[in-house]
């Protein structure tokens, strides 16, 4: 019995002696991970802000509305003043008087309902209205068309909202700042879902991309909507 008591005593002594020893350390780590906040289009020098659909699309999210978006400028307008501007402002003053950068970067999205629209042979009046260059040498100004589509959140394959419209602008392509002649903003190689007949609800499990573009509220269409116009760059890899 006494032997056991003594053993317990020694055990206690040893445990106390070794109680301060640390055979392992735990280091906690916090920080941030993402894209470097810089324009991928060398013709665009505006600062890039990280955006997401919930913020851009306003208070009607997952639908979209002008009201409630930080890019609302007044009762009818939002984002940059003109969607075809080759030199849009880097920021706008929103309806609350706050300065809001308008070149945004959105990641975790895929492209579908991709099509060609609004062809032209000359620059928009906002860009001086001159004819496009004759790059193909046929003696006439070349024709450039917008390439448009909708971005959906990766993993969302059965709902039409939330989404945001994008447009490769024909003036930007004519200027050589976007389109097939570029590596950072090609409208030909951008991954997208294959075309499907209307109502185009059969979304694919699209290739994830990240995009940069200027925020614009298009109030000219039958259904007003937010878009990234011009889409200035996209990435699937660096």
């Amino acid at each position: 019995m006494r032997t056991h008591v003594a053993s317990l005593l020694i055990l206690t002594v040893l445990m106390v002696a070794s109680g301060g020893a640390n055979t392992s350390l735990i280091v906690g780590n916090t920080g941030i991970f993402g894209w470097p906040p810089m324009s991928w289009n060398p013709n665009v020098s505006c600062p890039v802000v990280l955006g997401d659909l919930r913020t851009i699309l306003g208070s009607a999210y997952p639908n979209q509305s002008l009201v409630g978006s930080p890019y609302q400028v007044n009762a009818t307008d939002g984002g940059i003043p003109n969607k075809r501007m080759l030199r849009p402002p880097c920021s706008i003053v929103n309806i609350n008087g706050q300065i809001e950068p308008v070149l945004v970067q959105v990641s975790g999205v895929y492209l579908t309902s991709y099509e060609t629209e609004d062809c032209s042979t000359k620059f928009d009046p906002i860009n001086n209205g001159t004819f496009y260059p004759d790059i193909n040498g046929d003696g006439r100004p070349d024709t450039f068309c917008d390439s448009t589509g909708n971005l959906f959140l990766v993993g969302d394959t059965n709902s039409f909202n939330p989404r945001i419209h994008i447009e490769f602008d024909h003036d930007w392509m004519a200027a050589g700042w976007a389109g097939a002649s570029t590596t950072y903003d090609s409208n030909e190689t951008i991954p997208r879902c294959p075309p499907v007949p209307p109502p185009m609800t059969n979304f694919c499990n699209g290739t994830p991309i990240a995009v940069q573009g200027f925020v614009f509220w298009d109030n000219k269409d039958p259904s007003s909507h937010w878009e990234l116009h011009a889409l200035t760059a996209w990435k699937t890899s660096s």
């Binding site: 006494r2 032997t3 056991h4 008591v5 003594a6 053993s7 317990l8 005593l9 020694i10 055990l11 040893l14 445990m15 002696a17 070794s18 301060g20 020893a21 640390n22 055979t23 392992s24 350390l25 735990i26 280091v27 906690g28 780590n29 916090t30 920080g31 941030i32 991970f33 993402g34 894209w35 470097p36 990280l50 997401d52 959105v106 990641s107 975790g108 959140l153 990766v154 994830p208 991309i209 990240a210 990435k235 699937t236 890899s237 660096s238």
Partner: protein, 152 residues
Amino acid sequence: MSRLTIKLILGMLVIISLVAIVIGASLLSISNTGTLVNVGNNLFAIVDVAQGASCGTAPGYSDTGLIINSWNVTVGSSQSKYACVKNTGASSDTLTITRTGTIPSGVSFSSAGGIVNGNGGTLLVTFTLTASTTACLSTSCPVALNFGISIS
């Protein structure tokens, strides 16, 4: 009972106790090997030190509250952080460094450690996060980093 008798009895009790302690200690030295090993290694660290820091003279070693909160990793790049580890135990230790918790898809963790001598030996260790070029495409970015590193 005389005082002499009492003293004899107390003396015998002391002797018996000492014998019991010796026996008990010998038993424990066999059955508590793990505990004894613990005494050999005793680790402390200073985290987020500069690359090439002089760990031998650096102040502020601790075994608690070790946090690196300055990670800022961009897609297609890597970032390294450094820590000084001190071993005040009697034995040298080959450090095992492992990540705990989760990090974003496409981001990998690696480390460089080595042997840290006992009796106050120090070692500069490296932790590195590397992000692939496609690491931030499937999810919305930026995302918060929140993970652990175990050093043993």
